[in-house]
Amino acid sequence: MSVLTASEQSPAAVDLGPAAALSCRECGERFPLGPVFACASCFGPLEVAYDLPSGDPEGLRRAIEAGPKNIWRYAPLLPVPADVADKPNINPGFTPLVRADRLAAELGITGELYVKDDSGNPTHSFKDRVVAQAVEAARAFGFTTLSCSSTGNLAGAVGAAAARAGLRSCTFIPHDLEQGKVVMAAIYGGDVVAIEGTYDDVNRFCSELIGDPLGEGWGFVNVNLRPYYAEGSKTLAFEICEQLGWRLPDQLVIPVASGSQLTKIDKGLRELIALGLVEDRPYRIFGAQAEGCAPVSRAFKEGHEVVRPVRPDTIAKSLAIGNPADGPYVLDIARRTGGAVEDVTDEEIVAAIHLLARTEGIFTETAGGVTLGVARKLIGAGALDPSLTTVVVNTGDGLKTLDAVAKTAGPTATIRPHLDSFREAGLA
């Protein structure tokens, strides 16, 4: 069939490092490496299975520490060729893990609190991590056009990565995104198509496009390249542990849109334990959603194993996925680790954006406001233990969602250019 042309290559011709096969997360059936994403037997999502290095954790740790200051230091644990650092890519990662003592004091946290600040990536969101993986998979499978359905951040990351790698890009976004994200998606010169509908409509459109001759030869980073793409989020787990001195945090608070990032951070932590790179001890994972799009939070609170879709209505547009495909796995992980999934209102999101900026000098986008807002709510509810080591993941830059805080952040005073006028303002 035409859309499977690339997968008809011999698996032996595909060099994706330690990646050995694709494995169905539902039924366990295995498939050769290729641009496929759903199990032919049960529709379950496929993920990468590895032949990971074993037996010498000290040697592996030293090799990682000697690697480049980006995600490719973890190349032995990712579906990428060994020479990945020599290829043109956006090379994201190794972003700061900020010790947040002033924020901790405001929140009543007595243990260590950190913010994993992914706004420092090349296009200012964590999406660069996943797209960088997808670029390598696209190269391996011979795609020349990179595409995606996006809530905004992803389209920017795809545009930038395609430009650097010399690929064409054509990305699809909902028509009502924040201007900052639209500009960022378009500036890299690729095609950006705004679709009259929600993200879920865009996602559906792309899923249909991929099965049509119109999409032939296209690598959709979050559809047919998704098994490889999603692995990029593991690097958040790897970095957090390495930056803590090869130590697991006790608690992580992570935003939930499709749920992919949270599930892959958990996978990354489990791989580090399996490889002997960190001590095997319990950790708890908490998911964060906006009240206006909280299908996973609702399912968690109601004790369900499946997630009923919702129609999103929130300022946190990058989390506005009403039909989150990895939602069931988020529920599994939160329950397995003793965590929770919680949601906050738009007002609480804005308040949390201000709180992080005011205490730590980090300007987060609305998704980060959701995450911190939920952390704050969980502490208040006693669900998050304030005496433990906690990491809050900030996935994007506040400059992308200026509208959310434009009414609550502005000049304190407007004065004439005279000392008297400044004195009258009472700010000295």
Partner: protein
């Protein structure tokens, strides 16, 4: 009631490679049963052992996700378009 059903790539081996087929039925359940009569085994890929929609498959009748409607009981008016799509994560 005759409807058009869009078939995802991974189910096209059941339809001889066709991306679109027609089926009869007044509800989604009837359409899937008719689909299975003409393309034996296809319904077992969309439904689990208890006859429910598998959790990683999305089905739309025209533009509506059937999980917002009546699930397998969702009406399929004459001329409607039914799309079967694997769920994908990531935004």
């Amino acid at each position: 009631m005759s409807v058009t059903v869009r078939i995802p790539t991974i189910l096209r081996p059941y339809t001889g490679g066709q991306a679109e087929v027609t089926a009869e039925g007044a509800t989604l359940a009837e359409v899937l049963a008719d689909l299975d009569r003409n393309h034996q085994g296809i319904a077992g890929r969309v439904l689990d052992d208890e006859g429910r929609l598998r959790r990683f498959v999305n089905v739309y009748v025209n533009d509506d996700d059937v999980r917002f409607a009546d699930g397998l009981g969702t009406p399929t008016p004459d001329g409607a378009g039914v799309s079967i799509i694997p769920a994908v994560a990531g935004g």
